[in-house]
């Protein structure tokens, strides 16, 4: 049958197209991850090297390490408050912009500006705004005799500062996606709700929000994973301080590996984070598969 022969030939071509990508993903991405996994079962130290011992001692140590446990709390605080602020703010602005047409459309462009600023620059801009001697915020309130507290000197303050900087830079991302989703929702629904006598607010919570729910969930999950990987903001704004107050888990892995030379222990922290990401990405992939089947 020529048809089958043709489709077999096509399948071969498809497979050939997959070869470079598979090889490259294998070499560039999967090999380092396997290396990380292997390292986490050793006691490799940047200076002392490896004693030849293999075991799960790193993982046992993880759960006795108070700094590791507290790094998880810090990470969760940064992620939960950050994602919450970004999703709420992004959605609110998107809903506001959705109704704006004509002359004010350019406002969309302005809201997107911080999205273009690289993370290191975001961190430096906000570091300058949170440096009391330099900050125009402090100077402005000083005119009225109000002294703005130095956020970066306390744990709560430093976490708040990082969340603010992160939110500033990334809520436009949420906004763009929610805006795209809102434009897919038929305006007839709003009108129907208005005819039924529902108030605007009620219509939003009863009709628009449930329709947005899948989009919001996906955006929140994506942002959640990104916030777990916080690095430049912490490195530049607080260096993990004051003390160790903002050493989130990812940052703690960096400190153990590259400052304390405990490579194997750092790798085991990375494995922990990796498993976390694996669980969440599994959930997203499942949800995606469901959506594309439907």
């Amino acid at each position: 049958m020529p048809a089958t022969r043709a489709s077999a030939a096509m399948d071969r071509t498809y497979r050939r197209m997959l070869v470079p990508a598979s090889l490259a993903v294998g070499i560039f991405a999967i090999t380092p991850l396997l290396g990380m996994l292997a390292l986490s079962f050793t006691d490799f130290h940047l200076v002392r090297g490896w004693s030849g011992e293999i075991g799960i001692q790193n993982f046992v140590r993880l759960f006795e390490d108070r700094r590791f446990i507290s790094s998880i709390y810090i990470m969760m605080a940064l992620s939960v408050f950050g994602v919450l602020a970004q999703v709420v703010l992004g959605t609110a602005i998107a809903v506001g912009l959705d109704k704006i047409v004509g002359r004010w459309r350019f406002a969309r462009g302005i809201f997107v500006v911080p999205f273009a600023v690289p993370h290191v620059a975001v961190a430096l801009i906000w570091l300058s705004l949170f440096t009391p001697t330099l900050s125009p915020i402090n100077a402005f309130f000083a005119v009225f005799g109000i002294e703005v507290p130095a956020l970066l000197t306390t744990q709560t303050g430093a976490i708040t500062a990082i969340v603010i900087a992160d939110t500033w830079a990334t809520y436009p991302f949420v906004m763009l996606i929610v805006l795209a989703a809102l434009q897919g929702i038929s305006p007839d629904l709003d009108e129907a709700a208005a005819l039924d006598g529902a108030t605007r607010v009620k219509a939003f919570f009863r009709i628009t929000l449930p329709l947005l729910y899948p989009t919001l969930l996906m955006v929140a999950l994506f942002r959640f994973i990104e916030t777990l990987k916080h690095f430049p903001l912490i490195f530049v704004m607080t260096s993990g301080g004051p003390g160790r107050a903002t050493q989130a888990t990812n940052y703690y892995a960096y400190v153990q590996t590259f400052q304390n030379s405990n490579v194997a222990y750092g790798a085991s922290i990375a494995v922990f984070l990796f498993l976390f990401a694996a669980a969440i990405s599994f959930y997203i992939a499942k949800a995606n598969a469901r959506l594309s089947d439907a």
């Binding site: 497979r15 991850l33 993370h119 990375a270 599994f282 598969a289």
Partner: protein, 276 residues
């Protein structure tokens, strides 16, 4: 049916006030950094309204004379090469993933997502150890390979979703005309998927351009990228705020035209990636 009651007007005014507040929140830090970049060191620590005439271009000149322009060039070279490599390898792969009849697509999609989301610290530890051994520390090749671990999974994932929206009939029609599959991809499918292609290219470039962590660990003075080079202006003794402001702007400026031009495509592509 227009409601013109006072309550409605109050609500509307409240809405506009909210929007203006957040517009200020988004815009003021940007204006601040532009002002900061033109303040002389002598006027740095006093409010702008106390020395409204103190402006200088010295900060820009001193950045131009420093190592920073070279670092910007390094960023361009490595982010650009890595994106090119990821597109060349990733686009055909994504096409095959999208159109080939195969049962195990779920695993591929999970793997790609996982690679996009895995913590960079996990990639960088083994890379660092291997690079020290084989002499790839502080080389373009080393950094481009490291960036490809970020850009390739991203390109394959996002082109996969773009190709899914290309109807199979288009490919079948091309094959009927006697073209090979590779030719159909090049001549028909890629032009049809152009928005997705632009978005994938732009976002993958940004992914590498924004990187701080890889560059911090595996580059030294020769190939430092701009985000790490900015940190040269921060030291324990003093922080050169004027230089930092100029460098931050220099780091952002190349991105702005890209974002503005590709904005529409990016929104489509992000929306598609989130919705599936």
């Amino acid at each position: 049916m227009r409601d013109t009651s006072t309550a409605f007007r109050v609500k509307k005014a409240f809405g506009y006030a909210m929007m203006l507040t957040f517009l200020a929140f988004s815009l003021l830090p940007v204006i601040w950094v532009v002002l900061l970049s033109m303040r002389p060191p002598t006027a740095l620590f006093e409010p702008i309204w106390e020395s409204p005439g103190a402006w200088t271009l010295d900060n820009i000149r001193s950045i131009a004379r420093s190592d920073f322009p070279a670092a910007l060039l390094n960023s361009f070279i490595t982010a650009g090469s890595s994106t090119l490599l990821a597109m060349l390898i990733g686009v055909p792969g994504a096409f095959a993933l999208s159109k080939r009849r195969s049962s195990n697509k779920f695993f591929a999609s999970w793997l790609l997502l996982l690679l996009r989301m895995a913590p960079p610290v996990g990639f960088v530890i083994p890379l660092f150890l291997v690079y020290v051994r084989v002499g790839l520390i502080d080389t373009y090749v080393g950094l481009i390979f490291a960036y490809t671990s970020l850009t390739l999974p991203f390109v394959v994932w996002s082109m996969w979703t773009s190709f899914n929206q290309i109807p199979d009939e288009l490919i079948e029609a091309g094959l009927m005309d006697g073209a090979s599959l590779g030719r159909v991809l090049w001549r028909i499918v890629i032009p049809a998927a152009r928005p997705g292609l632009v978005a994938a290219g732009v976002l993958s470039f940004l992914l590498a351009w924004n990187d701080f962590f890889f560059s911090l660990i595996i580059t030294r003075s020769d190939t430092t990228t701009a985000p790490v080079a900015v940190m040269n202006f921060v030291s324990y003794a003093s922080v050169d705020w004027g230089a930092i402001a100029v460098a931050s702007i220099a780091l952002t400026l190349p991105i702005v035209p890209i974002i503005v031009l590709a904005n529409k495509y990016i929104v489509q592509s992000l929306g598609g990636a989130v919705k599936g």
